[in-house]
């Protein structure tokens, strides 16, 4: 269900400028700033395990936002997002290893290279819709996977590529604590850019193409151009996310970028909320924490029943199965994603105790 108005009641704007702020209410802006400040303090208090999860949320969240712009906002489908994520990881490592480009610079350059690749793959995809597009992007996943395993000069072939840690003024930022800030900075910047994009000309054009392409066309929007552009932008986000992933792990190998990860990216945006920037983050958090929670549940069961070898050996499958199950359950029961549920809860408390 679509809510009938985008602004809560009791909000009045007296100038066009006040009407164009990112946040609908000052409170939601303050909450967001508070969230960033809290996140910035995280390395001081959190264990390395939790910090590693937050870093994962960071680089996957960036890539997922790109996919949400493509799938949620423009209405195209992609089953190959993981391959572009992987390309970004390899590209940044390659730029750094081969040309000595500093990592802080090779990350955005890898984003640009992935954008160009995305535009290239977007050319045929921009002319396709529905099932045909799904198959075409499925093919791009496998074409790129094959490329990763063959292009020794670029990826190190089957043995993979080393990726150096970030260094600043010759000083290596090693360890999770400092890398966390690199990821956090990228996450904040990429999410602000994404939000801005979606409230300006080209972002509106994406949504117009999704909602009613015939009308979009008579409004002067070149459908093919915007479908291809959306692929390019989504690839940029995938490339940045992938590059961060590579330099975080220190090692890039094609095995990390299979169709399974592409499905997980789709899961993040379905669970979070199609076309929603904040929903993307919620979905990513959910998707990163779910396998951890599954593992916790399994070990809790084992704690009660004693060790069951079958359960231990099946853990990897159980994790995958819960991901699939979560996606299916959300599609059935909460197709608008967590962000929709969040809005309902918020409006409930806003009107409390007169919620009905």
């Amino acid at each position: 269900m679509i809510s009938s108005s985008l602004i809560p009641c009791g909000q009045y704007k007296t100038s066009y400028a006040a009407d164009t702020t990112i946040f609908l209410t000052p409170a939601s802006r303050n909450w967001c700033i508070l969230g960033i400040i809290l996140a910035a303090c995280a390395p001081l208090v959190l264990s390395n395990y939790l910090l590693a999860l937050l870093i994962q949320i960071g680089y996957y969240g960036i890539a997922a936002l790109g996919l949400n712009i493509l799938v949620g906002s423009t209405g195209q489908i992609s089953l190959g997002h993981a391959a572009f994520f992987g390309f970004g990881a390899f590209a940044s490592a390659w730029l750094n290893n081969t040309f000595g480009v500093p990592v802080l610079l090779s990350i955005p350059l890898a984003g640009v290279m992935t954008t160009l690749l995305g535009l290239l793959f977007g050319i045929p995809a921009g002319r396709l819709k529905g099932l045909y597009l799904a198959i075409a992007t499925f093919a791009s996943q496998f074409i790129l996977e094959d490329f990763f395993s063959r292009a020794n000069w670029f990826t190190g072939g089957s043995s993979g590529a080393m990726a150096n840690p970030v260094s600043l003024f010759g000083y290596e930022l090693n360890g999770d604590k400092s890398f966390f800030y690199v990821v956090l900075a990228w996450l904040v910047v990429m999410f602000i850019i994404g939000t801005n994009l979606l409230r300006t000309r080209d972002g509106r054009a994406f949504v117009a193409v999704r909602d009613h392409y015939l009308s979009a066309e008579v409004m002067g929007i070149n459908l093919t151009k915007y479908r291809i552009l959306s692929f390019g932008i989504s690839s940029f986000y995938a490339g940045i996310g992938g590059a961060l992933y590579g330099h975080y792990l220190g090692f890039v190998s094609a095995e990390g970028f299979t169709i399974l990860l592409s499905i997980q990216f789709l899961g993040m945006i379905i669970i979070g909320g199609m076309g929603s920037v904040m929903g993307t983050l919620m979905g990513t958090v959910f998707m990163v924490l779910l396998p951890e929670a599954t593992e916790g549940a399994v070990s809790a069961i084992k704690h009660v029943t004693g060790d069951i070898p079958a359960l231990t050996s099946a853990l990897a499958y159980i994790k995958e199965a819960t991901i699939g199950l979560a996606i299916v359950l959300f599609l059935i029961f909460e197709p608008d994603g967590l962000v929709h549920r969040w809005r309902l809860i918020k409006s409930y408390w806003k009107l409390y105790p007169f919620s009905y």
Binding site: T20, N196, D202, S215, A216, E217, I221, L223
Partner: protein
């Protein structure tokens, strides 16, 4: 190029076929600057097909379309929009998940310069300033059509009559040289129809907009149009002042279903 007396729109010998069906057969007409021109005809006469040939959704099998003296026959709809064509659809065609304001802002697409990069950088690139500067024009349109109260509403949740009005607003935001309206009053109640007729007349007279309108309600058509063209089975059977067209024998027979023997009831329809 836009000399005062070149017609804003010229359709020359346009034919359109779908397999065996001849939707249009060698239709020609001109629309002058500032005119309110109506196309009428029975269901399936080819009115929407004509509009689609003008806006570029369909390519005519033969014949040409000129906008402001320029041959646009081979151009895509989005290019025709940037050259100055706006249109609404017979069936609702809003961007359902966007706010009313954003729907109308999409109409500004070809007038805005910011892009994915500058839009993303918003404050740094001047995109914010540009977006705000276009709000003035959009708010004028919103005021004119009296939709200020639903400015932030999600378009897909609005009642039918309001959606039609938002669609008109969106087409106006394109700032076209000519605006094509496909049954802007279909499915409306009397009050909504009167409102819409008034908006169209004001749009034509006060805003100086050239309008081509398809409409079934003969009363409205005869009241507000300056000239009328009648289509039947894809052919033009009459064109002229409303009164002339009403008196045309072929129109009476073909469109109004009135036989020569029966007393003419044209007066009551007008």
């Amino acid at each position: 190029m836009s000399v005062e007396n070149t017609p804003v729109l010229e359709v020359r010998d346009v034919s359109l076929g779908f397999g065996g069906v001849r939707a249009l057969s060698e239709v020609s007409f001109e629309v002058k600057r500032g005119e309110l021109f109506s196309i009428i005809g029975p269901n399936g006469a080819g009115k929407t097909s004509m509009l689609n040939c003008i806006s570029g959704r369909y390519k005519p099998t033969s014949g040409r379309v000129y906008l402001d003296g320029r041959d646009v026959t081979g151009l895509t709809p989005n290019i025709r929009a940037t050259l100055g064509m706006g249109r609404t659809f017979q069936n609702l065609a809003l961007f359902g998940h966007m706010s009313v304001l954003d729907n109308i802002m999409v109409g500004r697409h070809h007038l805005l310069n910011n892009n994915a990069l500058t839009g993303g950088l918003y404050w740094l690139s001047g995109a914010r300033k540009e977006e705000l500067s276009h709000r003035r024009k959009v708010e004028d349109i919103i005021d004119f059509l009296e939709i200020a109260h639903i400015r932030k509403a999600v378009a897909g949740t609005l009642p039918y009559g309001l959606r039609k009005r938002v669609e008109l607003a969106r087409a106006m935001a394109v700032e076209p040289k000519i605006i094509l309206l496909d049954e802007p009053m279909a499915g409306m109640n009397l009050e909504e129809k009167e409102d819409m007729a008034r908006y169209i007349v004001d749009l034509n007279e006060e805003w100086g907009m050239t309008v081509v309108m398809i409409e079934h309600d003969m009363g409205v058509v005869m009241d507000i149009s300056q000239r009328v063209m009648v289509l039947e089975f894809g052919r033009k059977i009459a064109e002229g002042l409303p009164a002339e067209v009403m008196e045309n024998e072929r129109v009476k027979v073909a469109y109004l279903g009135i036989d020569d023997d029966e007393p003419a009831e044209a007066g009551s329809a007008a």
